[in-house]
Amino acid sequence: MRPEPLHAQTPVRRHVEASVHESERCWKEDMNGGFSTRCRGQHLLVALSPARSVWYPVGTRAAHVCRTCATLMLTLLESLGRIAVEFLRKGSNPKVYEGAARKLEVSSTTVQQAVEGLTYLLSESSKLLISDIDFQDSVLVLGFSEELNKVLLQLYLEHRKEIRRILSELQPNLPHYHNLEWRLDVQLASRSLRHQIKPTVTMKLHLEENSELKTSVLQTDPATLIHMIQELEQALAEMKTNHCRRIVRNIK
């Protein structure tokens, strides 16, 4: 179950290794009934199901599962890769595993493990945004043929952007700006006061939280509207100041 000792220390390799050790420890604790929440949080990978609520363990299997792939042929890896990417998009689908397992004449568990391994490799690499060379170094240790490595690299490069987008959805969810609609009104009269001329800006602010849209209807007067624009423009301009540019330059 344990991977070969890793020689060169690339980020993914370090991470995979650490994960494997930690997960094994967790599994042992689990056997003793002491599976701590901390371990669960750190070493379980989020299954990127649409509901984003299913957690499943992959740490231990990551390396060895990729080896399972090695026994399969190049084209099979490609199809497994597709399944893995699909997994990342939509969550796991046991039916797909069974279908693939029949075609490949292996057990569906093997397919599932292979897909989970690939998923882990892809999501972890995308999370760390490692370079081509680092990625190649990381998969080298898995002992695949050069062609398989190329396919993996291709798979990684092709889907990195999308996977990062999916991962970014997992961030702590705060209300997020989505859209703003506005309408100009002039209030002319009300029950309590006839003959008014009161210009108002009615706004409908759409916020997004946990992929649900929330709207609030707000109102303001022209003077405040101008003030809001000025304030928010200052906020945007702040990013272009020397101070911010220096910080951004130095964080690389």
Binding site: K127, S168, Q171, Y177, L184, T224, M228
Partner: protein, 197 residues
């Protein structure tokens, strides 16, 4: 502009110099304006035991203050001009001096009373200010090297209905903030064009 019979009677009583001396008239009028401009818990009651009211039954003072208050509110509500106000008061037997006094006091308080009346009724929460915070996001537990600016924007809200007046805070990326500012600017431009018509 229409007033109830009770109010008309009150005004007529207030107009009568035999019942209300000029000083008593002034005191009732002042109390009427004050009771509208102060908040309910500090509403001014005419000092019934005041020496100027010595010979007037308290129920008459109350009736007259209520009538004056009603009249002021109706006048502000319908934005009546000086001529209409004078005609109405003269119909209630106000002499020239009292009408003049009423008009002077009315002018002093009109603007604040208009604001008061304008704010009665249901309106969406009013944005009174905006504050912002800029952060540079470096990484999250799910994603490394995110490297992007992130803004936290807060709209301060005011509402007559205090349960609604909860400030709104939200996050936005630079692009989203640009979008927001762009839309607000569109609204401001539309407003400017309309005001020039």
């Amino acid at each position: 502009m229409e007033l109830s019979e009770d109010s008309l009677r009150g005004l007529q009583r207030l107009a009568d110099p035999a019942q209300f001396s000029p000083r008593a008239f002034g005191a009732v009028l002042r109390a009427a304006f004050l009771s509208l401009s102060l908040s309910p818990d500090q509403a001014a009651h005419p000092a019934v035991d005041d020496t100027v009211f010595q010979h007037i039954p308290p129920c008459h003072i109350k009736e007259c203050q209520a009538a004056a208050t009603m009249f002021i509110l109706e006048a502000v509500r319908n934005t009546i001009d000086r001529a209409a106000l004078s005609t109405f008061l003269e119909d209630c037997k106000f002499d020239k001096e009292r009408t003049e006094h009423f008009w002077t006091e009315y002018q002093k308080h009109r603007e604040s009373l208009e604001i008061l009346l304008e704010n009665i009724g249901r309106t969406p929460p009013h944005v009174s200010d905006v504050s912002w915070r800029l952060a540079y996001e470096i990484k999250t537990n799910q994603l490394y090297k995110t490297h992007r600016p992130s803004y936290l924007v807060k709209f301060n809200l005011e509402s007559p209905d205090t349960s609604q007046a909860k400030d709104i805070s939200f996050n936005c990326s630079m692009e989203q903030l640009q979008d927001l500012v762009g839309k607000l600017k569109d609204a401001a431009k539309g407003l400017e064009r309309t005001s020039q018509m």
